[in-house]
Amino acid sequence: MSDATSPKTADMRRAFALPRLLRRANGLIGSAILISILAFTLTGVVWTPFDPIEPDFLARLQPPDGTHWLGTDEWGRDVLSRILAGARTSVFISLCSVSFALFFGALIGAASGFFGGWTDRGIMMLTDALLAFPGLLMALAFMAILGPSKWGVIFALGLAYVPTVIRLMRGSVLSVREREFVEASHAVGDSRLYTLLLHVMPNCMAPLIIMATALFGYALLAESALSFLGLGVPPPEPTWGNMLSESRGQFAMAPWLAIFPGLFISVTLLGINLFGDALRDTFDPRMRETGDA
């Protein structure tokens, strides 16, 4: 009974959303950029033209040429190889931290909105207080506790984004909770947990997917920022952020050290922003640019 009233038509509409998404110019360009970056990252997982970590003192600070397409750094390491290896690390960190935030944020937020009462009030009070720490600040504080490391960055960013996801999920659940198919699920005697997990949460996914795209961009930027400050992934493992940080010493003589990693960050963010816009327009015209992410 509850299934009959569950919005199957919405699922059908979503199944046709992809072609519509691609028809939009921003969706097309954004997807093209993201697919290229993904291919680039996967290339970095299996192959780099030179060793990204071993120094080669005979090839120090060489400008871009036929052998080293994007030049070499002060240790003689190939910049292209390091950007390839850095893509691997940066994308891995962003994916992990966003998944962490989405998983815990969605669960806590859904429980908060669905069960209401004191659970809800307590969780929201804590969430609001955590959101009183602006921008990177929470991640910086967590980095002070966890120390600079790859997993440190993942947990710091994941934890920093959990409150945002909680708020979003709670909001969606509050509106879905009142719909008829939820009532139907109660009526046929489903347990509250079953209703929450199988009927309420699947219908709150659209805004969550849109937020995931935005969060991925934030995480990528934040990882670079933390590594740039020296609080992220420690050298010699390359990330786009710590490459920029290391470039600061010589970039008057060797500007390619700063230009290329930053270019990759910018292009990736551009892809994410374009794709995110298209996603928002396609799935949820009412959600466009609310700015509370």
Partner: protein, 313 residues
């Protein structure tokens, strides 16, 4: 209206209280014994014990918290472990530096974004609209630290237009101070402009579709009057919230830009405190920044009532 303002003001008290507890707990979660760090290389247990009791670390945690909060109300945030500097006065002087840059940057971003967003929406789907959108999405996608580095390379090193890095207060040397400000301000303003243009454009698009705009046009009002009198206030009011949020975030979170340009601001103080494991300074920074953030949001919410014609309380 006054009841709403009072209520909104009182709501900040539990928030700030929770914030202080979170800061206190976070600092205690940092591995390492502050007493050992202060003493440096020493094996003496008695010296360690003496230092611990001097810092109050031997007291129960809740009493440590109460003492700390009590001191905050007296304006005493303690002293830096490394330099012995008074933290409250350090925060105020560093904040003055950050505030100079932030207010100018957010001001410029607002002045560019409001007309750009209005015009883009007014000329929706024309090349002008796409052009403005394109510029704004590029602004959004440039990481501030990279934009900063590129400007240093091009404008300071190659063209020599501006000093590379550093900071001079505009009170001491106006022209020199402004020259140091230009690049950091552009860096901070770029992202902000991108965000605001998109926000204002979308708000304006929604308002332009409403009946009262059609009505205003049907009355024969000029487009300029329609835009200025009927669209402007309604579309800018929601942007105010975003301006407030970013203003608050930048006031405390400009650590990246301050690092790029070696500016002795609040963000740099915070990052340096993390590196130096200077717990009291870090604690003070976290508390101060979130306090500023909460206060800015309070002011924005109150201003909102005055600007948005829909909110009549």
């Amino acid at each position: 209206m006054w009841t709403y303002a009072t209520k909104r003001f009182l709501m900040t008290i539990p928030t700030l209280l929770l914030v202080s507890i979170i800061v206190f707990v976070l600092i205690r979660l940092i591995p390492g014994d502050p007493a050992a760090i202060m003493l440096g290389d020493t094996d003496s247990d008695t010296a360690l014990e003496a230092m611990r009791s001097k810092l109050g670390l031997d007291l129960p945690v809740y009493r440590q918290y109460l003492i700390w909060v009590g001191n905050i109300f007296r304006g005493d945030l303690g002293v830096s472990i490394n330099t012995g500097e008074d933290i409250a006065s350090a925060l105020v002087s560093r904040f003055a530096v950050t505030a100079q840059i932030t207010f100018v940057a957010v001001g410029i971003a607002t002045l560019i974004a409001i007309p750009a967003g209005l015009i883009a929406a007014w000329r929706q789907n024309t090349p002008l609209d796409f052009g403005i959108l394109f510029v704004s999405i590029i602004c959004l996608s440039l990481p501030s630290f990279w934009l900063g580095l590129m400007m240093i390379y091009l404008l300071a090193i190659n063209f020599g237009w501006f000093p590379t890095v550093g900071f001079v207060s505009v009170h001491e040397d106006f022209v020199g101070g402004v020259m140091y400000l230009v690049m950091p301000v552009i860096t901070l303003a770029a992202v902000e402009t991108g965000v605001l243009i998109r926000m204002i454009r979308v708000q304006t698009l929604e308002i332009l579709r409403l009946d009262y705009i059609t009505h205003a046009r049907a009355k024969g009002l000029s487009e300029a009057t329609v835009l200025m009198r009927h669209v402007f206030r309604n579309s800018v009011a929601p942007a105010l919230t975003v301006i407030g949020l970013t203003l608050g975030a930048l006031l405390g979170g400009a650590s990246v830009t301050e690092t790029v340009f070696s500016i002795p601001g609040l963000g740099r103080l915070l990052v340096d405190a993390i590196f130096a494991r200077d717990y009291p300074v870090l604690q003070g920074c976290l508390l101060f920044v979130s306090f500023v953030f909460v206060m800015v949001n309070l002011v924005v919410d109150l201003l909102y009532m005055l600007v948005d014609p829909k909110v009549k309380l």
